[in-house]
Symmetry: C2
Amino acid sequence: MHGQSSPRSRASLTPDDWIAGATVLLTDHGIDSVRVDVLAKQLGVTRGSFYWHFKDRDDLLRCVLNAWRDAATEQIIERFEGEHADPRALIKELISLPFRGRAAERAARIELAIRAWARRDAMARQAVDEVDARRISYHAQCFSALGFRIAEARARAFALYAYEVAESILSNQGNAAQKAERSALVERLLLTRLDPA
Amino acid sequence: MHGQSSPRSRASLTPDDWIAGATVLLTDHGIDSVRVDVLAKQLGVTRGSFYWHFKDRDDLLRCVLNAWRDAATEQIIERFEGEHADPRALIKELISLPFRGRAAERAARIELAIRAWARRDAMARQAVDEVDARRISYHAQCFSALGFRIAEARARAFALYAYEVAESILSNQGNAAQKAERSALVERLLLTRLDPA
């Protein structure tokens, strides 16, 4: 008979629980594995209770993207509008970002899974593009503050952001000394002024 | 009764057909979607015929990785041991790689799917690390040929490779003029000699 097992009280689950569960599934198994029935089973609730919170699977996926974007944007604002007023110190900090241990590793895994999804989904693509654009803009402000003209500040910002993205993807390459050497090189190069071409 | 449908002749399918089909599934739907039954259906053959060519799913996945690694390595060797003797010309070419149109886009999609897989699978991790290491080594030879000391050549090689990897991931950022500006900047910076720190 139905209803005789004792699923966790539906009242105790919030939309955030579903979003967090979906994010884990996405990260560990890819977007196609994010299915309402699988999630319900994992959360120990009935499939039907999903619809108390979400219209459908697409609605859940939109919330997953929004949660990621909000967290990413929050991070950016905190970093750039926080204690560091000095653009050089900020650039130094940005260069060290990929080396921040387990939290950085987990964030990188989530982000890579979302990027893979974005290669074949317009909604995910839009979220990723927005976050990337916003991060690059903030990076550009640092270089503008150092006196680089706008177009060059933007190009340097892209190069710095590209390094951060790639360093987190290529984290198995090189030992600690090599990582220190390359991050120091990138920092010096990005702060070096070039003679007019 | 069995055997009355007419699947495509098993003799006409090669291991490469299975590998190609698995690579498409991996790229479009992630590694968890690469399943023998799904592939057999797509290829229009019986599930059993899979075992004429492969021991099991893991065997197929190993072949997918080997095929990708071979293609990637072949590309590297062709590029670096081919016509370009001049390291500056080679560096210029490497910087332009992410802008090579549809073939580059498809290769980037496959590679991103393999990188996402590698985040949670040791066999895929090893293949990706090998290809990255090999590419970085070849890049380093260019900078060594330009007279940079070995450790600095390696750091510059990493920065160049990081730019290539990130540019293909961040391909939606910026218009054509901005892309031209940032690739010109990266080229100039990576060829600029720094005063001793």
